[in-house]
Symmetry: C2
Subunit: 228 residues, 2 copies
């Protein structure tokens, strides 16, 4: 039983730091997404497309989580207000971002000059679902070449997502991916899940996704004002 207790303590400590992160974000009026997916599903490309679409109206910060390398930060740095790279290689929880890593990254971001924080988690459909980071919303990116059976094989991450972005729609002619059956499997786990179908390569569907995201952000801000 000892091991399970230790794991429990880690998760409790994580939740408490995540709550502090959330408070700091709220205090600065920053809305945060935790973007999760399998390796290569297109998280960075979605961030780039989202930033290109929204950067004239919103100030966007990014936290890039990776096991190793700064490749993703290099890709996004010219498109956003600020980016911080977190590499998890030397941490024992190297399979996901944890709240403490995000807490450190938040100290290095100009939060008072930001409206939206996009946190790109480590490419992994399992571990990231265990660790709250302080985000307002969890986004899972699923790409067509991965296959439509992922909700059945990795149910937990889909159960906790507010939004599932189906990416690489341009691959539809070349793959066996049944979009309605994929959506049905997600809804079976998570009846409130919202879907967007996009191609980060062609830009298809990006405007719809960004318009919705902007509305969510406004509605969150209005709600916060009422609460104050």
């Amino acid at each position: 039983m000892k091991k399970i207790e230790v794991v429990q303590n880690i998760l409790e400590a994580n939740d408490s730091i995540a709550a502090q992160n959330r408070e700091l974000l709220e205090a600065n009026g920053v809305f945060a997404l935790n973007i999760m997916s399998a390796p290569g599903a297109g998280k960075t490309s979605l961030i780039l497309r989202t930033a290109a679409e929204l950067k004239d109206r919103l100030r966007i910060g990014v936290i890039e989580g990776d096991v190793a390398s700064t490749l993703d930060s290099e890709r996004v740095q010219n498109e956003v207000t600020a980016v911080v790279q977190v590499t998890t290689r030397d941490a024992s929880e190297s399979c996901a971002l944890i709240a403490n890593m995000v807490a450190h990254a938040l100290k290095r971001l100009p939060l008072e000059q930001m409206d939206l924080l996009l946190i790109e988690n480590v490419g992994n459909l399992i571990c990231p679902s265990e660790f709250a980071l302080g985000e307002h919303m969890r986004v899972v990116v699923s790409s067509l070449p991965e296959g439509d059976d992922k909700p059945t094989k990795y149910p937990i991450i889909f159960s906790d997502a507010s939004v599932v972005v189906i990416n690489k729609l341009d691959f539809l002619p070349y793959v066996d991916f049944d979009i309605p059956s994929f959506q049905k499997a997600v809804l079976g786990l998570n009846p409130r899940a919202k879907f967007f179908q996009v191609s980060c390569k062609t830009g298809a569907g990006i405007k719809d996704w960004c318009a919705w995201l902007e509305r969510e952000l406004s509605s969150h801000k209005s709600h916060q004002k009422i609460m104050k």
Copy 2:
């Protein structure tokens, strides 16, 4: 420091069980592969193609590792001598197979009637590299739609692999994937890595991969006889 000690103990215990698994496999003359990849890269498809190519000459057993579901076992059950599904969802190490799970699965396999064991690990490029299972060889499957930057982002799993199977070669016209640059990055981490380029969809490259695997298996068997 407590947590790190616990993790250390888990890894040591795992290595000791992996060594027992390896002894049991050797005693039965079974050669075992630990097949790892990101979700949806084609581990199950590679197992199906390998079984179809080799099943007239080799008796093949399969251990299917997944967080949840028996989808993969259902796919392979008619193609191989025996299959055991391991679901990791309820285990705290749910992001990879561990040696203990394989030890239990080995008890349910007819080892004395098998030549080759294909262990399909959980779809994940991070956690599986930490846990030896008792395998003779580690295989990483990388698929073209994932992108060619994965060795840089997930270096550990590529460092430990004997073989990297580049799958979904039929996607080459539709993706930006520089095969030489990918291979160079892997060789930078792991100079002895061997590569195969396949399409599990069309069957391209499968004969080469299987011929090589069969040679490795024979050479292992000859070596074992000399040692006895």
